[in-house]
Symmetry: C2
Subunit: 157 residues, 2 copies
DNA sequence: TGTTATTGATTGATATGTAAAATAAATGGC
DNA sequence: GCCATTTATTTTACATATCAATCAATAACA
């Protein structure tokens, strides 16, 4: 069965794709969705959501407290959403808030030792999951896929 | 600048990717996210959400009333989420509920003339957006991208 | 200096996705 | 026909995303 046929069957659509462009977009969204489901499951097993993990990872990578604006700028999450995310991470003692800077409007967020420990328990499973998800593609295919995704994204932002 | 460098800069990460697999996954999620944002905006301009549009499109494609279970099976949305979606579409008179079948547990959902009209106003803008989003890739690249995305998704469920 | 504009963060409203449990109707075995 | 099970849907609870509005602190500037 052709590639086109496969996706068509998967979506249970009766009509053929009207364009190659439409097929690519659907394919992209559907694949990303399935990948995300796998990662979401892993995070949930560790009592985290993808957004929460992402913030912890950013804080660890930076190694110092970051204001909410800066966190928002590095995630999909809009600034108002950061507030609630930090609230829930703070309740779990994975991050802490500080108003220490000269600019007292800024709330600096720090990852706690417990937050760092939580991340460490996820490092290996995550690396393993990355391999599980796209490991069946050859290095050439992965490189090619990267190139095409980059090119697709180039005009988008 | 290399592809790896570009994404790295974009995410403001300080450390290089630990693997090609990780890079592909991040690339995939990020690209899908940006594409989705564009479509979400278009739908919002027409007072719809992506999920709402998706349900209308499915109903139009089928051409006859469908039970909630069937709608859920053709979307990302889990069954419980369908209820609220149909609620809001019904409030806008874009769909209607019927309990006409032999199995009176089933709620059949029909698209209304207003719903069909709403979809028609979206057909052209959507086709145009598909081209805008990935139209700068050559047909060869689109075909290649489709193949790689299909292959990536093959092991995912 | 004092008024205004901007910025960082929060809150509130609406929509969605997910999981668990509840409700109601249909089905199968006896 | 009765009862346990299954099925279709809804309800409830929680996390998130988006947008608008608000509040406090700072910056800009006449």
């Amino acid at each position: 069965m052709s590639d086109r046929g496969k996706l068509q069957q998967e979506l249970k659509k009766k009509t053929p794709f009207t364009s190659l462009e439409q097929e690519v977009v659907l394919n992209l969204m559907r694949t990303a969705d399935k990948v995300q489901i796998r990662f979401t499951r892993l995070f949930r097993d560790h009592d985290l959501t993808p957004s929460q993990y992402n913030i912890l990872r950013i804080l660890r990578g930076e190694g110092k407290p970051l204001p909410c604006m800066e966190i928002a700028s590095r995630t999909i999450t809009e600034v108002p959403g950061i507030t609630g995310l930090i609230d829930r991470l703070e309740q779990k003692d994975l991050v802490a808030r500080q108003r220490d800077g000269q600019d007292r409007r800024e709330v600096h967020v720090t990852i706690t030792p417990a937050g760092l420990a939580k991340l460490e328990t996820l490092d290996q499973p995550l690396e393993e999951l990355h391999r599980q998800v796209v490991g069946h593609l050859s290095p050439d295919e992965l490189t090619q896929l990267n190139r095409l995704l980059e090119k697709a994204r180039a005009t988008l932002g």
